[in-house]
Symmetry: C2
Subunit: 234 residues, 2 copies
DNA sequence: AATTGTGAATTCCTTCACAGCC
DNA sequence: GGCTGTGAAGGAATTCACAATT
């Protein structure tokens, strides 16, 4: 096992591989080759071997990877063997939708608290029974509830302030939905999901006068080419 | 103006620049240099000039960029001068949260329809008054309502089927929230936002034994270094 | 003097290709 | 024979650095 620095593109893919392995395991399959795995995602098999190669040797030549083993290894590498406790700042529609999103438990994430500054919401609980606290209680609740991941789901103008608060409270990993360029301290990681930017990027695509678009498709299976893979962040 | 192929990293950034320009315009500022703009996002000024350079020459040497002009140019380049009509498939919590998300109108996007297969939801309207149709009516509603962008907010197992339906209906731009590796036809662009992967990537970061994390911060302003920029997709 | 636009240099990421192993 | 692991090659994205321009 080396200790180079791993790109986020790699960790994103590891997460995707892991999800796939979990499904294969559920289907009772025991081994998989990098080639088979690659076909699932329209990517190059060497990419998968390289990604795994940063962390060790997990495969068996001539056979491929034992799914149960690789699953355990990736879970460990991604730090998903330890539970994570999530606090969501902003109990609006997006915040509450995320709080109730099932499918995070599989990854060992539990949403334990929401925060809002609307007094009428405080003390309430979401459908799923998650309590809503005052934003000014962030520091205390983060400590009491042992929160290690924060989600920012507030309007852009409040986002930097909220980020500062959660950083001060000691949270080092933040998923941000506010469309704002945030500045984080060293040692703190902010990952931004920007819906407007995603849509505007799609708009650019639509605005392109492209040579021949489907309507004339030679064969109904002219699927994704190489250049499209990374556009799906793979 | 050239006609090279533009990377999605560039179009994402253009969207971010445009948002910033809109704010600067609102503040009554008239010109901005690539350097000033770059500081907003912790990125290199050459990056901004290169991004713009793919589309033409918009700046004035010695002065910078006229904000109103560049704003108009970027709006045009991103295809935001024409309105876009959005249909959301999946009227669950996420779908309805997105339907009511304000801030898309600024970019000339309007959500005009939701789709679901839950009969109890059909005919209903969301808080904002957007009608909910049967998923099997996608083709008809896309035509009637002139929908050009679809959002997939259904469970992973249904996502490929839904994608096939919206592609058949002629939609060429899709924003996907389902954690599934989708295959699209040529000429159709799918952009996936994967919350689980985003969180798992944060988990990896937390699992890293990092040398010195903040607690000992020399000066409270030891902010984002170069390596962190792209982790925020900038 | 200030700032753009852009080739050249650099860094980062992906793919190739094959030796090594099962 | 089939498949992994990986050095080397290739390609893409970023940054440098400076001539050109106002």
């Amino acid at each position: 096992m080396k200790r180079e620095k791993i790109s986020e593109l790699t960790t994103n893919r590891l997460s995707v591989y892991l999800r796939c392995l979990n499904e294969l395991a559920l289907a009772g399959i025991e081994t998989v080759s990098s080639q088979e795995l690659a076909e699932q995602f329209n990517l190059n098999s060497a990419q998968i071997r390289k990604d795994l190669g940063y962390f060790g040797e997990f495969g068996v030549r001539g056979t491929g990877y034992y799914i149960e083993d690789l699953r355990a290894d990736l879970t460990k590498i991604l730090g998903l063997d330890k539970p994570h406790r999530v606090g969501i700042v902003g109990a609006g529609r997006l915040g509450t939708a995320l709080a109730n999103y099932n499918g995070l438990d599989k990854s060992n994430f539990t949403v334990v608290a929401l925060f809002d500054n609307d007094e009428t919401k405080l003390g309430e609980r979401t459908g799923g029974g998650i309590p809503i606290f005052d934003v000014n209680k962030i520091a205390k609740v983060v400590r009491d509830q042992d929160i290690d991941v924060a989600v920012i789901a507030v309007p852009a103008r409040a986002a930097q302030r909220v980020l500062n608060q959660v950083m001060t409270a000691g949270v080092k990993a933040i998923l941000n939905f506010a469309p704002a360029p945030l500045k984080a301290r060293l040692g703190v990681k902010v990952k931004t999901v920007d819906l407007t930017t995603s849509l505007e990027s799609l708009s650019y695509f639509l605005a392109q006068p492209r040579a021949a678009t489907l309507t004339h498709g030679k064969r109904s299976e002219d699927f994704m080419d190489a250049s499209k893979r990374k556009e799906q962040n793979l």
